[in-house]
């Protein structure tokens, strides 16, 4: 006899697998064709959350979140550069020392978070997700074609907690990450890639942690096609040319 709890878990797993299959590509048709594929990408600091689940409580590993978050970005930079993209890592020091950049980053991140609340993988192809002017201002300020946003969650569980979770439910160990690309010319969401890594219960060494981070970065980038600058449709035209055109029309 299968209990209600087991049935719920199996159903959730089926939905999760179904969703994963539907979102397998995780990028728009225009990105795939190259029309909106960027030449240059700015990687913003990853929003990383690493925690240790104990039997009674969960401990937030804040310093580790910052450190492994930076490592994640280094890994993503290497992998994307390997695919031919011109990548710049925009780290916290750079952002915090440029007031305008900080304003653009914080605004763009809020717009991104709002977009991801509404995001459903199946609807990405409809091109309904747009981060608005904040994305375009940020991309223009950084001089890039696209901005990359990422999140990473990693939970380590003590062995005792893993047993308790198996019996009565609760937090389990695991790692997941998300990498999204937003077009700098239009503010459109072009790519959302999900990465997961299996984390076994118990304390982890630094080397093991680095391994999980590397796995997540790899899973977030492996499906992405390489850079193809020849296919990108340039939206920006020469300012003077456009102004001359429109002024001539307005005089008529």
């Amino acid at each position: 006899v299968i209990g209600i709890r087991t049935r719920v878990v199996v159903l959730c797993a089926m939905f999760a697998c179904g969703g994963e299959a539907l979102a397998a590509r995780g990028f728009t048709a225009e990105f795939e064709s190259g029309a909106t594929r960027p030449k240059s990408i700015a990687l913003l600091p990853v929003e990383a959350s690493i925690s240790r689940a104990r039997v009674v409580e969960t401990e937030g590993l804040i310093d580790e979140s910052v450190a492994y978050g930076e490592l994640f970005n280094v890994q993503v930079e290497t992998l994307l550069s390997g695919k031919g993209y011109d990548v710049q890592v925009v780290d916290a020091d750079r952002i915090n020392s440029d007031r305008k950049l900080q304003e653009y980053v914080v605004d763009a991140k809020r717009a991104y978070d709002e977009m991801m609340v509404q995001y459903r993988p199946k609807r990405l192809a409809k091109r309904i997700y747009n981060g608005g002017d904040s994305m375009r201002l940020l991309a223009a300020h950084l001089g890039v074609d696209a901005v990359a946003f990422s999140k990473m969650n990693l939970t380590i569980t003590a062995a005792g907690k893993a047993i308790v979770s198996a019996l009565i439910g609760g937090t389990t160990s695991g790692a997941a990450s998300q990498l999204a690309l937003v077009d700098g010319d239009t503010g459109d969401l072009e790519v959302v890639q999900i990465g997961v890594a299996i984390v076994t219960p118990g304390e982890k060494t630094d080397q093991e942690m680095q391994g999980y981070v590397a796995k997540l970065a790899e899973n977030n980038t492996k499906r992405l096609p390489g850079a193809d600058p020849s296919e990108r449709i340039e939206i920006a035209a020469g300012d003077e040319e456009v102004l001359d055109d429109v002024e001539a029309l307005l005089e008529k």
Binding site: Q118, I128, A140, G170, D185, I235, L243
Partner: protein, 427 residues
């Protein structure tokens, strides 16, 4: 013997009174903490680094100086070596403030922007400081550890809430009603003992009780659960009723927060909280009726309303508010606008809101013809009103008068689309 006993009783009574008075004024006894609780303290310290790594710390010197000056003026001396009072501002338009067990107090820009004067800031900080002084983070952590279930309830918090422990999550999202009440009660006394007006305390709750959007809060905080805030406004009003009124401190407050207020209105426009944006922008225009920038900001806020009609949140039930939140989560802003424009009411509201925006921009230009921002706003309004020629003219004026504007690429791309449209019309 009897005398000695009476003396002892008197001494005990006197010491209890002194203790009660000290506690009432925000001075508490020391609370030793164990190794596990030290972790909370370390985590609290680390959060500053995390916020810095996420570029969320708002470092505008005038604002920081204001918050730190008021905070340090009303805080009690630290009762424990793990408490070190410090005050930070987070770049976040949501109205929230929180205190961590190590004495670090954070206030969101969205909270500061709604306050009217230094006394209201003092009231807010007095409340938060009393969470620290009363060791509420530690008390709550001890209670939570006894209730495993709490970790399941609080585990689902989104945003950066996921990076912190349960003990700190309660510090950020609200303590128990009893601890919140205690902080309110003590805040009133702290204000009474200070140079600030204690009557500012219920005003803070009144300000926060205003629900402009009619949305059920996605992540409820102690500052955003409105029925509770209204009840607390009433309780604290009764608490301060007999306390003296004092002159309010506005002079240093207003210039320090001016830029931040404008920035917060822009944040609300961007984040699609247009009713809040209009309300705050209107209050700014009321305060600075001759400031063209504030008037243009009101234009931005009206434009942000899209096809939404004014609402009266008092008429909405919690179910309505949940429904509004669901709509917001399910549909993008463009989808919601398109749906509203399919209705007669939506089209009428759209026309009215755009007219309000246009009037504000025109008014700002009349006040200061050298101020170019309204041209961009007018271009956007005319584009939405399908007046391509007027929109193009406004955008051309904007890019010519502000050749180095950061948003020039955006305006130029719009001009390119308008050029194609005008060419089509002329053929």
């Amino acid at each position: 013997m009897r005398t000695s006993s009476q003396l002892r009783t008197l001494c005990v009574a006197a010491s209890l009174c002194a203790c009660a008075a000290a506690v009432a004024a925000g001075i508490y006894d020391s609370v030793p903490i164990d190794e596990n609780e030290w972790r909370l303290i370390e985590e609290s310290k680390d959060l500053e680094g995390y916020f810095n790594a996420q570029s969320l710390l708002y470092k505008e010197p005038q604002v920081l100086e204001l918050v730190r000056r008021v905070g340090h003026e009303i805080r009690p001396p630290p009762s424990d070596d793990y408490i070190e009072y410090e005050f930070f501002v987070l770049r976040d338009p949501s109205p929230n403030a929180f205190a961590l067990p190590n004495g670090h107090v954070y206030i969101h820009t969205g909270m500061l922007a709604r306050l009217r004067d230094e006394d209201q800031l003092a009231a807010l900080l007095a409340h938060e400081i009393n969470h620290v002084a009363g060791h509420h983070g530690i008390v709550d952590h001890r209670a939570t550890r006894k209730k495993m279930i709490a970790s399941m309830v609080l585990g689902g918090l989104g945003g950066w809430g996921g990076v912190i422990s349960i003990g700190l999550q309660t510090s950020v999202y609200g303590f128990t009603r009893e601890l919140e009440q205690e902080a309110d009660d003590r805040a009133a006394t702290v204000l009474k003992e200070s140079r600030y007006d204690p009557h500012a305390l219920p005003e803070v709750f009144d300000i926060l009780g205003r629900d402009y959007e009619g949305l059920y809060p996605r992540t409820p905080t102690i500052w955003s659960t409105h029925p509770e805030v209204r009840a607390r406004a009433q309780t604290s009003r009764e608490l301060v009723a007999a306390m003296p009124h004092r002159d309010r401190h506005v002079d240093a407050f207003e210039p320090a927060v001016f830029e931040m207020r404008a920035m917060t209105v822009e944040d609300y426009v961007q984040d699609d909280y247009p009713h809040t944006a209009v309300a705050l922008a209107e209050s700014l225009v009321e305060r600075y009726p001759n400031d063209a920038r504030m008037v243009a900001l009101l234009g931005d806020a009206w434009q942000g309303m899209g096809a939404q009609s004014p609402i009266d949140p008092a008429q909405l039930t919690n179910s309505d508010k949940r429904q509004n939140l669901r709509q917001r989560v399910k549909r993008t802003r463009a989808q919601r606008l398109a749906e509203l424009l399919e209705t007669e009411e939506g089209r009428a509201a759209y026309a009215t809101n755009l007219k309000h925006a246009e009037t504000s921009y025109q008014r700002a230009l009349a006040m200061d013809p050298t101020f170019v921002d309204p041209y961009r706003g007018l271009g956007e309004v005319y584009e939405q009103q399908e007046r391509a020629r007027d929109a193009a003219q406004a955008y051309v004026t904007y890019v010519k008068q502000a050749p180095d504007a950061a948003d020039r690429p955006i305006v130029m791309s719009r001009l390119k689309v308008l050029t194609a449209k005008l060419k089509g019309e002329q053929q």
